[in-house]
Amino acid sequence: MTHRHFQDELDELKTKLAEMAGLAEEAVRDAVRALLESDVAQAKLVVQRDEAIDALELDVEERSVKLLALQQPMARDLRLITTAMKVSGDLERVGDHAVNIAETVHWLVEGPLFPVVPEIEELVRLSTGMLKDCLDAFIRGDTKLAREILVRDDRVDELHENTFRILLTHMMEDPRKISAGMDLLLVSGNLERIADLATNVSEDVIYMVEGSIVKHHAEDRPA
């Protein structure tokens, strides 16, 4: 039997994380849309709304420390709280990457036009999909979904490398495109990092539910 009020506080912690996850996902989606549609106003909104994500990170941290100090959680409860602290840090970083992408919009609109390469659109689709799914996996404690996400990250890394090569070629052909090319390269890098963070969250979900560590290929190492 758990203390009822302790259970209530664990549920509130989860709710706060879900709220944070929703905002982070929205930030990435809006930043990307602003980029694809050259919408400077939309990009500004993303930057402004990052404050709410930062505030939630502090809130989740404070709740977690309080529960650790006052309730001495064990086993599954302990893993939920330590995971919540890491996931909130990851989500805060996702928000920052969304801001980075949004800030690029300004330069891309001002500078010489540079078509968004199809690889970037594919990167957007994959990384936002991973982000959405890892948050679902966290909320539902779905380790099957979490494991699928780990596999998808390889494709993202591959796409990022391809994007790099393509942009490099464009820039070598026409030095006027260097500035915009560098910006798009940064966008690609940010998307790749978002996918990495989704991978981290997925690894943490597996730890939270099963208590097993899968990061840094720990599963492959001899016991």
Partner: protein, 257 residues
Amino acid sequence: MSAIHSPEGPIELEARDLSVHYNGAPAVRSVSLRIPGRRVVAFIGPSGCGKSTLLRCFNRMNDLVPGASVTGAAIFQGQDLYGSGVDPVDVRRRIGMVFQKPNPFPKSIYDNVAFGPRINGFRGDMDELIETSLRNAALWDEVKDRLDSSALALSGGQQQRLCIARTLAVEPEVVLMDEPASALDPIATQKIEELIYELKQDYTVVIVTHNMQQAARVSDYTAFLYVGEVVEYGPTQALFTNPTEDRTEAYITGRFG
């Protein structure tokens, strides 16, 4: 006079420059602290720090200890409990106490709870009062079909909740608890802790405990006492995550002495 430790909100109990000596030896030294209403306040500290002695001042239990002398004031709702004309029996009705070891009377469950109200000449619906008291002590469901059986047949944890029901039956305003779970197993302890948390909706609860984690789990405010003095008193969360005094930090991290 030592500094007054005071949380926010309406104050139910207050120790003002309160000292207790046992045969001349100081046990509580000039303590001043305020206890807010409808909150749980925990006193923690090593053995012999004076936490139980301080607690007992709030319902004049020290009167019963030979050689004990109390100076200063213990104030309940603005009135000094040690003032002239104050009836200690009335004090103990309004400020109840639960002890370390469950001490049910060798009577039925029903009669244990009815004991206090009968002495006080209760004229209402006794059955209803018994049920309410047992419900508030989270014991009703376990004993409702055997109210006539002996209280001594209950488990230790049930006996302790029966003692809490007995305390609640006289409708006190404050419940003092001296190590209420130290003689109980972890499951019974958890039930008592859950109960303490719920009691604060209607009562002011002051609990003395050896078990720091218990204080952390159940209380809103915690006072750390050492050699008869209040070293630190404040919101439980702050005291356990970022105490202001080095001695508190040393005690709660197990680095004392």
